[in-house]
């Protein structure tokens, strides 16, 4: 070896760089959640419930008539609701439980940032949601019965669900942050959960019209479920839901959950600095200026959500709409072939004089360009109704019945025409919002495939739990 030959210098020992605190906390908390068994137990309970529900849906002769798309939608709704519930309960337990168990003090004594601690815990709690979705997807696959709905259902369910569950988890964490005891945080979280779901318990007519809009504004869940129904069941294209606002297309149904998720996350983000041994609010919430800023932000948020949801209710306007106004009590219907639908229209005279006689007629159009021509007479025993006249401001309600003769995708709409005064005159008819009819063919769900999932998934999870438990016992030197 020549003296000039290069001799490699011994490598300096690599200095290990520490992981970010939020990641360390997330990794530990997620391990405790899943390996400790709480997460698996919750998901196992959900799987059993899901299995029973799916089996009943698939094997019951009457329920089997429900179209697969609708079943998938129902299951997706259930999984989002359960995901919200599980995550909210786990979040409510998270900080106040640690506070009660004395674990929080030890964490607060370390030099880690409060915000990073909270964010790590938040992400660990949120890890329940992908697990809920992961066990749901096989059931969706079975229930979708070969239709092309599985992909869109999984994607939209995951996207909208993530926004909702993130928001709900953040709310649970904030409650936990501000509660001194587990009992308080759990009671508050459950109370809030009931409030969020209360709109679904209201009668159907209360969920439409201005009241429905208000509920959508208050309940991002309703907006999400409505969106999923339209996209998954009613075969609406995304562009159907977008409204132009300031030159941009805005998906108004998605604004509510997206804003909710973001707003609640931001609330948690900014209040997380108030994590203390005794429950209390962050310093900024104790300042008048901080509270005023928060109130302004919430007002802006509600304003945005309101205006976005308000777009959903904007009726097409025209010259006739100013004089005769016709409204309808529903905007969509999912039906099986051979089913009947009863709906109501309301006709109001907005003109400054008493109206002439009015004819109100029902029309149906097949939205599939290759579909059969629809003869409304076949679909409704009474497709035209007559009104003598309406005084200024007077309204009249009319009931209608339509029978689903053929399967497919249809739009039903109402037209009100005031009788022209002279032979040479014409009038602009008033048109209602359409009812989007999605009529499924008579298919029977094949229940054979479902049993595998109904029994297999809980068994698989239970086996995982037993394996983890045994592995820990062996590692600790137990028998």
């Amino acid at each position: 070896m020549s003296s000039h030959e290069h001799v490699a210098e011994p490598r300096a020992p690599r200095v290990e760089s520490p992981s970010p605190t939020w990641w360390v906390v997330f990794a530990r908390e997620a391990t405790d959640l899943w390996v400790g068994g709480k997460g698996l137990t919750l998901v196992l309970a959900y799987t059993v419930m899901l299995g029973v529900w799916s089996y009943v849906m698939a094997s019951n002769t009457d329920l089997r008539l429900i179209p697969p798309k609708e079943m998938v939608w129902e299951m997706l709704e259930a999984s989002i609701s359960v995901g919200c519930f599980i995550c909210m309960i786990a979040a409510a337990d998270n900080i106040s439980g640690d506070r009660e168990r004395g674990a929080l003090e030890a964490l607060l004594l370390t030099p880690t940032s409060r915000r990073q601690l909270v964010m790590g815990k938040f992400l660990a709690t949120l890890s329940l949601w992908p697990a809920v979705m992961a066990v749901t997807i096989p059931y969706l696959a079975v229930l979708s019965q070969g239709t092309d709905i599985l992909g869109p259902a999984s994607m939209w369910g995951m996207l909208t669900g993530t926004a909702l569950v993130s928001g709900i988890t953040a709310v649970g964490m904030v409650i936990s942050l501000w509660s001194n005891s587990l009992k308080t945080s759990m009671s508050a979280a459950l109370g809030l959960f009931v409030l969020i779901f209360m709109p679904f318990a209201l009668p159907g007519h209360a969920q439409t019209g201005p009241m429905g809009l208000l509920l959508q504004l208050l309940s991002p869940l309703m907006a999400t479920y409505d969106f999923l129904a339209k996209v998954l069941v009613n075969n609406r294209a995304l562009t159907d839901h977008a409204r132009p606002v300031g030159g941009l297309l805005v998906w108004h149904h998605l604004i509510s959950p997206a804003f909710f998720g973001l707003a609640m996350f931001m609330l948690l983000f900014f209040t997380s600095t108030g994590l203390r041994i005794e429950a209390g609010r962050a310093a900024w919430t104790r300042r008048r200026s901080g509270r005023a800023t928060a109130a302004l932000a919430i007002a802006c948020l509600l304003g945005c959500m309101g205006s976005a949801d308000g777009l959903a209710g904007v009726a097409p306007s025209g010259p006739a709409a100013r004089e005769l106004e016709i409204s309808i009590d529903r905007h969509h219907a999912l039906m099986g072939q051979g089913d009947s639908l009863v709906y109501h229209t309301s006709l109001t005279n907005r003109a400054t004089e008493t109206s002439p006689p009015i004819t109100v007629a029902m029309n149906i159009i097949n939205l599939d360009s290759r579909g059969d021509v629809v003869d409304p007479e076949d679909w409704s025993p009474r497709r035209t109704q007559y009104i003598d006249s309406l005084r200024v401001g007077e309204s009249v309600s009319l009931a209608w019945k339509v029978n689903a003769i053929m399967d497919g995708d249809y739009m039903l709409y109402m037209v009100a025409i005031a009788k022209p005064g002279r032979p040479e005159n014409s009038v602009q008819p008033a048109t209602s919002f359409g009812i989007h009819l999605t009529i499924s063919p008579r298919v029977k769900l094949n229940p054979k495939g479902i049993l595998l999932y109904v029994i297999g998934t809980p068994l698989l999870l239970a086996s995982g739990m037993i394996y983890l438990h045994r592995r820990r016992r062996l590692a600790s030197g137990g028998g």
Binding site: E16, P18, S19, R101, G102, E105, G478
Partner: protein
């Protein structure tokens, strides 16, 4: 009990490691801490004493940056209380409530806390292994904490408090709920911390014998106020100078013989007074007559008392010849503050 050594090794060091100046704390209109001030040298052990509600926990929580004081300040190793993040890097705490996750093992728990102090995963794991050995938990290091005894959990808590090599360690009731053997083992572990790590200790305990045995200095709190502070001997002396009962010589005889023993002892020229002690059946408190020049009496006077009782055929059930004890000082000082 571990003997106190006021002069040996690092414990004699005088570098100031913790200083508190006028710490006050209000909960609404109630003042829980009324101007706590003290200082602690490096490698010293300070006992925090006080009855329930005296403000000990509030004081510890302020000094460990869990609570913010209403006024006043403190500094740890030169770092002021306005920088709690840095202070947390310098202190270790064994809180009264340990808050372990039962499904975690000791190694997992210590590794996690090592990472929270900014160590990489491998480094934290190596450190955790060393710590479980240091506290004698290596045999059960991979067992879930849920299976540990109370003593093992306390030792793990001490290991956690040492995970960042602190300059001050706060121990809140470390022997609470332990059996005598467990107490002894834990105190031996506590005693090693200043000697081996030159870390100072603040020890909160209700067991006065524990404070007496381990601590160099003591702070007695009552109703949020410091009623005495200094070395254990200083505090005891201070309490005694505030007119304590007797010199601390006590003898326990059968309750039927108490009056006989009092009469007999008072007849001795070296004894000034012998009176039954209130609240403790069978105990007689003895005050010796001071010598003419005020110097303490000969220790052999104790033998003379015993000899007289034995000759009179009075059974001696117990005899305490200590001049005065911390317990007396504690009871006296806190009672006085409450009045």
């Amino acid at each position: 009990m571990i003997p106190r050594d006021d002069t040996s090794g690092p414990r004699a060091s005088s570098r100031e490691i913790l200083r508190a100046d006028g710490l006050r704390m209000f909960y609404g209109s109630r003042e829980a801490l009324k101007g706590l001030s003290f200082s602690l040298g490096s490698g010293r052990v300070l006992g925090f004493l006080g009855p329930n509600g005296a403000g000990k926990t509030t004081a510890i929580r302020i000094l460990t940056t869990i609570l913010e004081p209403s006024s006043g300040s403190f500094a740890v190793d030169g770092v002021g209380s306005s920088d709690p993040q840095t202070i947390r890097r310098k202190i270790g705490v064994l809180p009264e409530s340990l808050g372990f996750t039962k499904s975690n093992t000791a190694l997992e728990h210590l590794t996690y806390f090592g990472q929270l102090y900014g160590r990489g995963a491998k480094e934290a794991q190596t450190r955790a292994q060393a710590l479980v050995q240091e506290v004698g938990l290596e045999q059960r290091a991979k067992s879930p904490i849920g299976t540990y005894s109370r003593g093992m959990r306390q030792r793990l808590g001490i290991a956690r408090a040492l995970v960042n090599d602190p300059v001050v360690v706060f121990l809140d009731e470390p022997t609470l709920g332990l059996d005598p053997r467990g107490q002894k083992e834990l105190l031996a572990l506590v005693h090693r911390i200043p000697l081996e790590r030159n870390a100072s200790i603040i020890l909160c305990s209700h067991l006065l014998s524990e404070i007496e045995g381990v601590c160099d200095e003591v702070v007695i709190l009552s109703s949020g106020e410091v009623v005495a502070s200094g070395t254990v001997n200083d505090v005891v002396r201070q309490a005694r100078s505030n007119a304590m009962q007797a010199d601390g010589i006590r003898v326990r005889v059968p309750s039927a013989s108490v009056s006989k023993a009092c009469q007999l002892l008072e007849s001795l020229p070296e004894v000034g007074a012998a009176v039954p002690l209130r609240g403790v059946v069978g105990w007689v408190g003895i005050t010796m007559v001071e010598s003419d020049d005020g110097t303490p009496r000969d220790q052999h006077d104790n033998n003379m008392i015993l000899d007289a009782l034995i000759r009179a055929d009075i059974a001696v059930l117990s005899f305490q010849a200590e001049v005065a004890r911390l317990q007396d000082a504690f009871l006296h000082l806190t009672e006085e503050a409450i009045r």
